[in-house]
């Protein structure tokens, strides 16, 4: 199907009537995923948002339940949502996170409930950024898996391809005109021309990480890292969280916040002992978790190559260089 660019706000308004619609909104020199009230607030000028759309399903601060004394009241959000304009790499990150929030014994109701009630309307990347390396991490500028609908920019219009049954059912209600052959050809041409310039080889990575825990290379890798949480909080596949209570005497709520393995408090024992004392252990944990432990447990690398950690690092510590240094050592 086809939708004209200037008709997009109208389509969004139709969606807003039925769903909570999240779309990238312009915020100074970058865009963020926010819930929009009108279609025209959405802005697709930036290639990708500053912080990942995982915040829609796994918000940075989320009330698990509120209580007064022993009376507890769950706050599970099961409203119908649409994440509009999500890039293929972010969609893949949600697939990776599903492994975490639904393991063999437990299911996280907060994330999974939202996950089942959220439709992912994706937008293909016509010109990927120099920091993108999604094709090396199992995704791609036009990769469809994880998405319900995929929009492709062909000049004045978007080609709309339904990917999943839910996507088909959603788009059927929108009453869009069918796509002509010329538009389909234009979309195919756009697909060819979208070329991810950066390649990161990872074939020797897992084998290397299996054996190099005590390798002195870790001393040099972390040296310029300031230990802030900027990379982990802008990463779509980082899922670590902290649970704290916010209460006055015995009324309050239990809150789940994002947490980062780069903070010392992450592993500080009550006795004061901290297994990860310095930045070296913490940086090693971050790389090991994404490229070895996650692979050991879920057979996938916890990275989709979106490049946000490269752009947001205050000291330009580039994960691509870290990976090539490790494989080269």
């Amino acid at each position: 199907m086809i939708i004209a660019k200037n008709a997009l706000p109208g389509l969004l308004d139709k969606l807003i009537a039925e769903y909570e619609v999240y779309a990238p909104v312009k915020e100074g020199t970058y865009s963020l995923y926010k819930q929009i009230c009108q279609g025209n607030e959405a802005y697709f000028g930036y290639l990708n948002s500053k912080t990942p759309p995982k915040g829609i399903l796994f918000p940075q601060s989320e009330k698990l339940f509120s209580y007064s004394g022993a009376q507890m009241e769950e706050c599970i959000d099961s409203k119908k949502k649409v994440a509009f304009g999500i890039r293929p790499c972010d969609a893949r990150s949600l697939l990776l996170m599903d492994n975490v929030f639904k393991n063999d014994q437990y299911t996280d109701p907060y994330y999974m409930n939202r996950r089942e009630n959220t439709l992912l309307v994706g937008m293909a990347c016509s010109d990927p950024a120099p920091t993108c390396f999604c094709t090396s991490m199992g995704s791609g500028p036009f990769d469809k898996n994880g998405l319900d609908v995929l929009l492709t920019d062909i000049g004045a219009e978007y080609l709309v391809e339904e990917v999943s049954a839910k996507g088909k059912e959603l788009m059927a209600k929108m009453g869009l005109s069918a796509a002509g052959d010329s538009q389909k050809a234009a979309a195919a041409k756009a697909k060819e021309s979208a070329e991810v310039s950066c390649r990161v080889s990872t074939d020797a990575l897992k084998a290397k990480l299996d054996g190099n825990f005590y390798d002195p290379i870790w001393d040099s890798i972390h040296e310029k890292c300031l230990g802030c949480g900027s990379c982990t909080y802008s990463c779509p596949t980082c899922h670590c969280f902290d649970i704290v209570d916010e209460a006055k005497d015995c009324n309050g709520c239990r809150v789940r916040n994002w947490d980062s393995c780069m903070f010392p408090l992450f592993t500080l024992h009550g006795s004061g002992h901290n297994p990860r004392t310095s930045g070296k252990e913490r940086m090693r944990q971050r790389v090991m978790h994404k490229f070895k432990y996650f692979v050991d447990r879920y057979n996938d690398m916890a990275c989709v190559g979106c490049g946000r950690c490269i752009k947001n690092c205050p000291v330009n510590l580039d994960i691509r260089e870290v990976l090539s240094d490790i494989q080269g050592s």
Partner: protein
């Protein structure tokens, strides 16, 4: 959708008993509110639970009571952080939340037909008490061979479960050896660090398993003594402690190597630990 794993089970504090002379460790007894609550909490020795003090927070503690003692849960807690301090000041009758049972448990099946050596140090004797009571239950006792318990602490005032220890020392089917680091007046038992006492007792490693719980330094020096007695890595079982929040293998903080201490542990054999980096 399954039960929400983050929601604790309401329980009532019925006993807040000061366990040690220096008042740093209290044993708390919580009572289930209903029969069906108790059924939703089937646990085994070695597992732990997150105790939620409303208004303060949540913290993980090993379950000290044994499944063979129905109706309540016991925890021995040292006063260290926000939650444990709030627990220590809690009057009996207050409601708390308990989330669990979490983690794996001592391999009771694999221990059947074997001699068991239990070595506990300091206040890490909670889950060991649960295991001992579980094994001493009349219909379980027959499954296990000789039980030797070596339990040490800095001074007599720090040894937990005084009355139970007297009962165990009177029994013939369990060999309890209590030791303290330095001589103290009025103490008639052994004196010496746990590694030296282990050397003296020299438990035979033939068809037996050793379970060690205690501060890392104690484990570090006791392990070679056991190896000297012929214990192989897969015959030594340990329980690890790490900072935990979710307890269900999602929040990503308690991992040692690719294993989550809260879900794949806290009980590991020395052989498993040898494959993991020593980052704990």
């Amino acid at each position: 959708m399954q039960r929400n794993p983050y929601l604790p089970l309401p329980m009532k504090l019925v006993k807040n008993y000061t366990e040690t002379e220096d008042k740093l460790i209290h044993t708390f007894t919580f009572q289930f509110m209903s029969e069906e609550d108790e059924k939703s909490f089937p646990y085994m020795p070695g597992q732990f639970a997150e105790i939620c003090v409303f208004g303060k927070g949540e913290a993980p503690f090993g379950i000290a009571s044994s499944p063979t003692e129905p109706g309540f849960l016991k925890f021995s807690v040292a006063k260290v952080g926000v939650v444990s301090t709030a627990l220590h000041l809690m009057e009996e009758g207050t409601m708390v939340g308990v989330r669990g049972p979490l983690g794996n448990y001592y391999p009771v099946e694999q221990m059947k037909g074997k001699d068991i050596v239990i070595i506990g140090g300091g206040f890490a004797f909670t889950t060991l008490r649960s295991l001992i009571n579980y094994m001493l239950k009349p219909d379980h006792r027959g499954d296990y061979g000789k039980i030797t318990v070596i339990y040490g602490a800095r001074n007599p005032g720090l040894l937990l479960y005084k009355d139970e220890r007297d009962d165990w020392s009177r029994r013939s089917d369990i060999d309890l050896i209590c030791t303290i680091d330095r001589p103290a007046e009025g103490w008639t038992g052994k004196v010496g660090f746990i590694p030296t006492v282990t050397k003296e007792v020299a438990p035979s490693s033939e068809n037996s398993l050793a379970i060690i719980c205690g501060p890392p330094v104690m484990i570090k020096f006791t392990q070679p003594e056991l190896e000297a007695c012929g214990f192989k890595p897969d015959q030594m079982i340990m329980s690890l402690e790490n900072r935990m929040k979710c307890g269900i293998g999602m929040c990503g903080r308690c991992n040692v190597g690719n294993k989550y201490v809260c879900k794949d542990g806290p009980v590991f054999t020395r052989a498993e630990l040898n494959q993991l980096p020593n980052e704990y």
